[in-house]
Point group: D2
Chain length 250, copies 4
């Protein structure tokens, strides 16, 4: 039995530090590394890739809308060409950097609003998947199960890694509960670990209303900027270990 | 007896948070607020000005080289016109915002490398002082005693507020000890308060070599991003209060 | 009889030059000057304001979404607070700069996608009008007749200047014909001047289908980056002069 | 007999157009393509690389200081690590993009102030050459003959392509005459072609004072933003053709 644990990394921007990359990295298997457009200055990106490669983690690209002030969390209207070029450009950078750090870029997980928008909008999913395929048809694409990205990827014969969230409360339709609702983020490490184990062992998740719903995932995301993020990462790691479940690639 | 305590503020950039503005502000008298070019997104700048105004603090502008990744700490070569326009533009923004927040922009302290470069280079000091005077000849200019900025300001009949540092170790020639030397930052709140009281009461500072040197200052700077910054601010405040020294404007 | 002619200006960005500000400015009465977020570096903004003030033109602010690559022409999703602060920050800068250049900021015309989005979306129009009023309730707001911005402005008792376009073809519902359709931009100076005179003298416009439709406007916009922009500006100026119609403020 | 003709390209930034890439490209053999930090939005960079590759031109990277407003023409103080990472990051992007466009990145020419500063400063030349070697030790480095970059490259066994300028007047010490002096830019196509032929055939250049000085070069640069740039490119091309000199790689 095996499950991938991923975390967004390399999002610091010069002296503006964000996340806890060094402390979390030992407990996960896949890093989604910022490409400079919502976070990630050159030094941070390069150092994070080298650290991930040295620890044998999957190195993935985490491209975004170009918006530092909004941290890539504000939707923008893009043409097909703008979206395609934006993703190609960002993934291209990481592709060479991963190779020079002694590994191979393994996957792409688009960031923030671009992730959410593309999941629902086929006209945005299409240039994103085309862009990833243009860089390398062997790149794996992290996305929500049953998303538009997933549908386009299948059509273009690109491999999808279905993602679920370790530390976010789900609603009954399997969308994430709004962060404005108290309890939407599972800050208690044991609760997050319970959710992880439930998804891994039973392919099911307990929603905000207490209902159990089927949920299949190949990778589980930890948010690195939750105040208890390091503790969540370690607790999930320990609980999986003690259940004999390996943390590792899809 | 009276001394001004100042701190750089409003330097956060969207979700990239830096400093401890809310916790420190009660203990100081002057805020130097970022103008968007090294930090300070519109919402942060506006909120910080409104908070400072509501608490009756001096609202100052903190313009910088245009460099977010380097946080304004990397020198850039600028022509007279580039430097003049850069400072005019940034101070202009704060000037209106201070007025709308119910106060009046009181002073300008240029940031980081621009502060240090202008202190030593008359060709850079000149456009900076000209720019501040262009916005309002009543604005006060924070700078090192005996700096080129100070000399130009005197020549142009602009008021100078001589600045010293509460939490940094001085060398014998009254420059700041390099941050790369252990102990260069006074993280111990009592040590910082001792230095403040020595400067305020005796117009002298104890240098890294233990020598006592004369140092006259009208304002003392606390760095908001020292790990112990809040504690330093509070301790200085308490010690000054208990000595009967008022914290307040020049 | 009198009509205001306006043009977006100050949109160059360092060595990236755009528009023909100096050649066009003599023929118009109102300048909408970029504020740095889609174009407009500090030197360009300051120089343009000074030139406009020296020539006795109306100096207005032209705030935008923060997006240089997209030139402010890509919609972004903003919260009320983000939109309010974005406009406040940009207009604040121009407000001081106009005063220092010896004039008074007269109006605000939001730029590009922000202009179009706010015209249709009350939730975006509201923070924009609130922001302009916060800076100065006497500022006039350029917007489309019958837009949401117009409705909100009326509600908040802010003066509206109704804008029409000299050099763009209208459809029957008085929206602008898409630039992708040949002829959508009236590059022929005489055709643009005909449209201007028809609007000014008859309060009507001939649409793409040849229909005449009623259109009332207080200001007419010339686009400075049309290849024939200077010639359009001059021709309109000459034709209005020869008809005895003054070019000047609302 | 053979000479390489190069031009900086892909420096446009969204709607901010600069240069005449399409018209000039047929007449040259090497393109130095912006990497996004002084110019070059993702679409421009990608399109320019594809055009250059389709026409069989050498595709090179043109990394710079991070400064759009200053167009990379203002010096910045960088640490070794900042300079190394800055160049690695930018070249990495072009490296993948060149490969996807069906070619291989052939060379690196650093841009503007970074080019000039590194030519004179070994502490800056070192991280730049290290960075280029880190990406690929087979990349060729464009630099001034006898520069610090040249010396470091030799030490690190990296191939250097010595660059001279077709359209700039030289002083007696073989530096470029300041652009502020009339005639410093050779806008007359025939004069530029004369200079090119003199360098290629006689390894000599006539300086501003009329002296003939020895100058050996492997590539000659045309500036794409000179008003007569297209004509210069074509004239040089024609004159070299008529002399039986091939335009092509070092």
């Amino acid at each position: 039995m095996k499950i991938d644990i991923n975390c967004d990394m390399g999002e610091s921007y010069g002296r503006f530090r964000i996340g806890n990359d060094e402390e979390i990295m030992p407990y996960i298997s896949s890093c989604n590394i910022a490409c400079g457009m919502h976070g990630g200055d050159p030094s941070t990106v390069i150092d994070t890739i080298q650290m991930a490669s040295a620890l044998g983690k999957n190195v993935g690209a985490h491209p975004s809308y170009p918006d530092h002030i909004g941290f890539g969390r504000r939707s923008m209207s893009l043409s097909y060409k703008e979206a395609f070029d934006l993703v190609v450009f960002q993934v291209a950078t990481l592709y060479t950097l991963a190779a020079r750090a002694g590994t191979k870029l393994s996957h792409v997980k688009v960031h923030g609003a671009l992730y959410n928008d593309a999941a629902k909008d086929k006209d945005l999913a299409r240039p994103i998947v085309d862009a990833i395929k243009y860089i390398d048809p062997n790149l794996k694409i992290f996305t929500l199960p049953d998303s538009e990205v997933s549908a386009v990827a299948e059509e273009l014969e690109m491999a999808v890694v279905r993602e679920a969230f370790a530390d976010r409360r789900y609603t009954e339709d399997l969308s994430l509960q709004s962060r404005s609702i108290p309890g939407a983020v599972l800050e208690d490490p044991e609760m997050a670990a319970d959710q992880v184990l439930n998804i891994v062992k039973n392919q099911e998740v307990e929603t905000a209303t207490g209902m159990k719903t089927r949920l299949q995932a190949d990778t589980l995301c930890i948010h690195g900027d939750t105040p208890t993020a390091v503790s969540i990462a370690r607790t999930i790691y320990d609980r999986l270990q003690s259940e004999g479940i390996n943390i590792g690639s899809w």
